[in-house]
Chain length 309, copies 2
């Protein structure tokens, strides 16, 4: 499955890409740029997306026939909202050959692993769960770009059943996209992203919906500026995708939301009491942590860029 | 005070700039770029800031003597954290001549107007309260830039006592910086900005402080990505400045915080009940409102740019 003669033959003869939007489309474009794939066949609920993906060079053909799409594929990539994973894995199962690897790009992992165990049964060792930590405000094949993953993390949440060479194939594909491989357990993964990704999305959606529901919303939006723009950027994300993520990672998100709400009530109490010392202490701790974080991130990014040149 | 011969003589002979950081420094640099001021004298609590501002060409001289600084000034600009406004206005009062206009850049206005009435007494008509809606993540004179206000809004919250020519002088200064003048009452102003600026700052500070306090904070920050970066950008803002804003606009912020907390609890209930329809409804309304807002903002910005060329 892995070509030794990498100079002349691509890593993959055929990839079946299920979901040809931003994340899946950018994966395909990145691998094509790296000359790592011969043929990408697309499957998608939306025929308009398939036609757009074909025109944009994301895929080389499309079909609605799962059997033929995956028959001779080296790799199947599931890049749909996470709630569809079970159904898709079940439709893959009867046709899945032993030399084909299946992977996904879902933002939650415990539910995906459970779906894989249920749907793929004795073939579950062929499934490598992965999550690229990258995104854009825009969605769909038109938003796909060939450098979305450069310098970005991809978290692989291995199963005990996975063979080393299957893991390495998926890791190699992501490295060819410019990404850096990390490993977490599915539970660790879901807790981490509930905190630093899923909760912020909920908070941003809640703020925009709260403002939009006010009678004087037009005036409020008129004076919203760059701080508001950045704070609410993630509220421009796909509602369906985030509905699915919220439900799939419900327990961890509820826990983070309750921790956050307690912090917010503490801040409220300080404000109500006009406790300037307590207020400034919260703001100062946050500012320091934020500055330290951005400094570390920028140092790491510049190191990755240097390494990639 | 306003020169008719604008081609050869600048709008201002002398401006006294109290607070030479990002906001005041950018105002001075913008007016200098427009050749609208002959001499800027700086006053600041921090002598290092004054020296930096002098070196950066923000100010032409500095002093710690209020009397001499404002004696022959056309305009006095207060660009400090808002809690200092009362003290500064009181120190201005004894030396304030009838042909000098005073303005400020504070993010809250009801408290500033109250401070002006108390401190400036019969001279309050000379005070034009203003708030430029612009900022950066960085603070201090080093962060000041000469195009910070291009295409940005400046809200003037007039007093009944203000003379038309005083208002026009301040408006003209801001227009020379590239800004667009808006008018609101102090109360309207404070309610609007509690909603679209002050509350988001509190929410971002609370999230970063909540995460930083967790035992596994390092791992969490390690996986925080671009969504988190944008959401928390405003948590990099000055703790002192935001402590002052929080306290100055306490009542309006508490009201917005309670409205937001109710929305968040509604979202929490939907998530706990795994109510996918309710969740998607919140996310969809927010996404639609956010997309409509950004479309309108971008259209307005491109119009302003076209108009300025």
């Amino acid at each position: 499955m892995i070509n030794d003669d990498a100079q002349t033959r691509p890593l993959f003869n055929k990839i079946a890409l299920i979901g040809v939007g931003l994340i899946g489309g950018s994966f395909a474009l990145s691998l094509k740029k790296a000359r790592a794939v011969e043929h990408v066949v697309g499957l998608d609920r939306h025929s308009t997306s398939l036609k757009a993906a074909l025109q944009l060079g994301i895929i080389d053909s499309f079909t609605d026939d799962m059997a033929s799409a995956i028959a001779d594929a080296d790799l199947i990539v599931i890049a749909t909202p996470v709630a569809q994973t079970t159904k898709i894995l079940s439709s893959i199962y009867p046709y899945l050959q032993s030399n084909t690897i299946v992977t996904d790009v879902g933002s939650t992992k415990a539910d995906v692993v459970l779906a894989a165990r249920t749907s793929l049964q004795e073939k579950v060792s062929q499934f490598i769960p992965a999550h690229p930590i990258a995104g854009r405000e825009k969605n769909g094949p038109e938003a796909a770009i060939d450098d979305l993953y450069v310098g970005k993390k991809v978290v692989i949440t291995l199963l005990a059943e996975n063979a080393d060479q299957s893991i390495e194939l998926v890791a190699q594909a992501w490295r060819l996209c410019g990404a850096i491989i990390h490993h977490l357990s599915p539970k660790e993964h879901d807790q981490v992203f509930a905190s630093v990704s899923h909760l912020p999305h909920l908070l941003a959606y809640a703020l925009v919906d709260d403002i939009a529901a006010k009678p004087h919303a037009d005036r409020l939006f008129q004076y919203a500026a760059s701080g508001f723009r950045d704070f609410t950027r993630i509220a421009g994300s796909s509602p369906e995708m985030w509905r699915d993520i919220s439900l799939a990672n419900r327990t961890a998100i509820l826990e983070e939301l309750d921790s956050y709400s307690a912090k917010l009530q503490q801040l409220r109490a300080s404000l109500e009491a006009s406790d300037s010392v307590a207020l400034e202490a919260i703001y100062s701790r946050a500012q320091t942590a934020r500055v330290n974080w951005i400094t570390a991130i920028e140092a790491a990014e510049s190191q990755n860029k240097d390494g990639g040149d």
